[in-house]
């Protein structure tokens, strides 16, 4: 592949990105992230794992344009990201971000109505997204009438209707039980295959990252840097059944080798981490 072709394959990138939070009321500034370099290839599924507080969510928010980088450059589709979320990026957050005052249907249609899409197109896209996410029968329900997993699917549907080319998932299944997480993982894989979008998943669950991703970046304790990038080698057509494959255990094992010491550091077990 030529250098030009390779460059075309880069969908979003971070180059030397750091994020330092100013210290409040005389406290020292907090160096939360980086420097970090990351190239996301068009259409790939990339997961980021790392110990708690290592700056995973900060990385996602900097890439989305929700936070400014303190240093370095952030690019999406060859344009610099700064100040606002570029068109074409969709974000699903860990917290329940459904709007309790709107029905499932209206939740999903929220972004489209704002962007001036005509009514017929809104109906088509929302109905399609709800059917795809298995929410068709709950279109007139309110989020309070749904389970946590279903509410998260509402948020995914709200993102999906906007047809984003880069989908950023910030621990979207963090609050769900293990079985639901596996099934939601299948949903996300279906979504990824169907949309052809590039997906960046932030997660603390190594098994989730190993099951879903083409590549996994393992981050150090704060300030987060990439220690290793693991290529899973999974076929594009995959689902949660791959958790029973031998390679799955090898991937999670390698991730844990990278992260064990870092997790201990982040929890303050510095001595044990050195052993």
């Amino acid at each position: 592949m030529t250098a030009d072709a390779q460059a075309q394959q880069i969908h979003a990138s971070l180059k030397g990105v750091t994020r330092v939070y100013p210290g409040a009321a005389g406290n020292k500034p907090v160096h939360a992230l980086g420097p970090v370099d990351l190239d996301l290839r068009r259409g790939e599924f990339f997961a980021v794992v790392g110990p708690s507080g290592c700056g995973k969510s900060t990385l996602l928010e900097v890439l989305a344009g929700l936070q400014p980088a303190s240093a370095g450059t952030v690019m999406f589709e060859d344009r610099s990201v700064s100040g606002e979320v570029p068109d074409g990026i969709g974000v699903v957050f860990q917290e329940d971000a459904s709007f309790p005052w709107l029905t499932v249907w209206d939740n999903a249609a929220f972004g489209l109505r704002r962007s001036g899409v005509d009514d017929a197109e809104i109906r088509r896209r929302v109905d399609d997204a709800l059917a795809f996410m298995g929410l068709k029968d709950f279109a007139r329900a309110y989020p309070s009438q749904l389970s946590g997993g279903m509410r998260q699917r509402v948020c995914i549907a709200r993102t999906l209707v906007l047809q984003p080319r880069l989908i950023l998932l910030d621990e979207p299944f963090g609050a769900l039980d293990a079985q639901t997480r596996l099934l939601m993982g299948d949903e996300v894989l279906r979504l990824w295959r169907r949309t052809g979008a590039t997906v960046l998943l932030i997660t603390h669950a190594l098994d989730e990252a190993a099951m879903l991703s083409d590549r996994i970046g393992a981050m150090s304790a704060r300030p987060g840097r990439f220690l290793d990038v693991v290529v899973t080698g999974w076929p594009r057509e995959r689902d949660s059944k791959i958790v029973s494959e031998a390679a799955f255990g090898e991937i999670t094992g390698r991730l844990w080798d990278n992260l064990r010491g870092e997790s201990m550091k982040s929890l303050g077990y510095a001595g044990m981490a050195a052993e």
């Binding site: 606002e84 709007f99 005052w101 704002r114």
Partner: protein, 252 residues
């Protein structure tokens, strides 16, 4: 009507029936409390004769005005205080102790400033109610999930659009609690002020009837106030309940 609703109604009917029996059998001195049926009869007669209709309109008009001012001003002040944390820190103890101060002591001052117009009564109603709305607004704004701000930015919404389309609906249940309190406090503030010093209004009518030993008139007006205040609060409660159920907040 739900089972709980029927039980509630039965309790009210039973209490009224018991009072009626006690008055009729003179267990309660009828010179002190007249039977509820007589109160109702006196009220109907007074409404038909139209002798107090002007006073009724005046009082409920003032309550409405005081409530409206309190809701608008309380919300606006709450938003401003919420936006300036230092001001809030300074004012928090004041809000916490506000209702410990008998606000009616300021009524004579208002008379001196505004004279015997409706203004002092309106201001007493506002003074009694507005802080409830400020506190409800602060609570509502505090409880807006932070993630909604991020969602707004993902959708590239401006400040006004975020406030109107996301923050306001998210804070609405708390704001509505404030509205309910404002209505109750406005009733209390206005009626009590009229009762103490005002030259007109339902509070004045009750006070005069009390001075004249006119029990029929006094109890009829008290009954009217109880009916209206309860009906308004019930209406607001039912609306709030339906809204809360829809949003999954549950029955209170």
């Amino acid at each position: 009507m739900s089972k709980v609703g029927w039980i509630r109604l039965a309790v009210i009917v039973l209490a009224i029936g018991l009072l009626e029996v006690c008055c009729r059998t003179k267990l309660i001195n009828p010179k002190v409390v007249i039977p509820p049926s007589e109160m109702a009869d006196a009220l109907v007669q007074m409404l038909i004769s139209g002798q107090v209709n002007g006073q009724i309109a005046r009082t409920f008009g003032i309550v409405l005005l005081a409530a409206a001012i309190s809701i608008v001003a309380g919300f606006a002040i709450g938003v401003v205080i919420h936006a300036i944390p230092r001001v809030r820190q300074a004012l928090d103890p004041f809000f916490a102790t506000y209702y410990a101060v008998p606000i009616f002591i300021f009524y004579p001052v208002m008379i001196v400033i505004f004279g015997l117009s409706i203004m002092p009564i309106v201001l007493m109603g506002v003074a009694t109610a507005v802080v409830a709305m400020i506190i409800a607004t602060l609570n509502g704004l505090d409880r807006i999930p932070r993630v909604l701000t991020k969602v707004a930015r993902v959708h590239r919404m401006g400040t006004v659009s975020t406030a109107l389309r996301l923050k306001l609906p998210a804070a609405a249940p708390h704001l509505f609690t404030g509205v309910k309190l404002v209505v109750s406090y406005a009733f209390i503030g206005v009626i009590a002020s009229e009762f103490i010093l005002a030259p007109a209004g339902l509070g004045r009518v009750i006070a005069d009837a009390y001075s004249d030993f006119n029990n029929r008139r006094m109890y009829a007006m008290m009954l009217l106030l109880v009916i209206v205040a309860t009906a308004v609060n019930m209406l607001l409660h039912v609306f709030d309940q339906r809204w809360a159920e829809r949003r999954g907040i549950g029955k209170s």
